[in-house]
């Protein structure tokens, strides 16, 4: 029971971490919006997290007869899902090889800030619930 106490805040923490990294990556993209040959990056987290969350529904047990055999289902463990930074090398927006779409970055920035706010509010409500339980609802 006590071990599960912080299980939900643990995942919110992951989201906060991903959101923070994303803001840094977007800031870096905007900072380099005029740099020749710069390629933009993005942070991937939510898809991997969702996949890990639905792992029980989608995966099936692989019959393993030797320790070297691998699982077919490559869904990662929920705890090991982390935000990763991916560079977009394929496209070019301009003649100088830069591929920062400044409008898209600005929208992502606004979106990400609100996402962060939402997660902080959610985290605080979790703590409020805990505090309420500790004080026996008083």
């Amino acid at each position: 029971m006590i071990r599960d106490l912080f299980s939900s805040t643990k995942y919110i923490e992951k989201g906060l971490d991903a959101s923070w990294t994303r803001n840094q990556v977007i800031s870096n993209n905007i900072a380099n919006a005029e740099t020749p040959n710069f390629k933009s990056s993005r942070v991937e987290f939510e898809d991997a997290f969702r996949r890990a969350l639905n792992a029980d529904e989608n995966s099936f047990e692989t019959k393993k007869t030797r320790p070297q055999h691998r699982d077919f289902s490559s869904t990662p463990d929920l705890d090991s899902v982390r935000a990763t930074v991916v560079k977009n090398d394929e496209s070019s927006m301009r003649m100088d090889g830069n591929n920062v779409d400044i409008d898209k970055e600005n929208v992502e920035l606004a979106k990400n800030t609100f996402y962060y706010y939402t997660l902080v509010a959610k985290l605080n409500s979790e703590f409020t619930k805990l505090r309420s339980a500790i004080r026996e609802g008083r």
Binding site: Q24, I26, I30, A33, L109, V120, F127
Partner: protein
Amino acid sequence: MSFLNAFNISGSALTAQRMRMDVVAQNIANAQSTRTASGEPYRRQVVTLSENKASFKSRLSAAMGEERTVGGGVKVAGIETDMSDFRLEYDPTHPDADENGYVRYPNVNETAELIDMMAATRAFDANVTALNSMKSMMLKALEIGR
């Protein structure tokens, strides 16, 4: 510290864009300068930008398996000189006119400079927005557990 590094990214861009503005101002100011120390008319200066690679700490943690490196912003790679031809204008009364009456004026195109200045201003604004969003997120983080 990682959370202050976030400010350095946008801060580096603010510095770079301000440098661009300074150079544009210098170009416009010298658009009519027919004499410089080298004896030639003034030549247009151009700021070149390059990506600032991630810090040593960030790259070390990437090498140790932490799969993410956030870049370190932008830096001014240098201020280079535009070697294109000078503008010729016929004005025999000018003291710097050659034997045919032509004066060599700097290769500064005011319209292009103003457009460049506008681009630098907008880029500056975009970075201020990014900086403000980072700041508000940081303040929000302080409210956790209040």
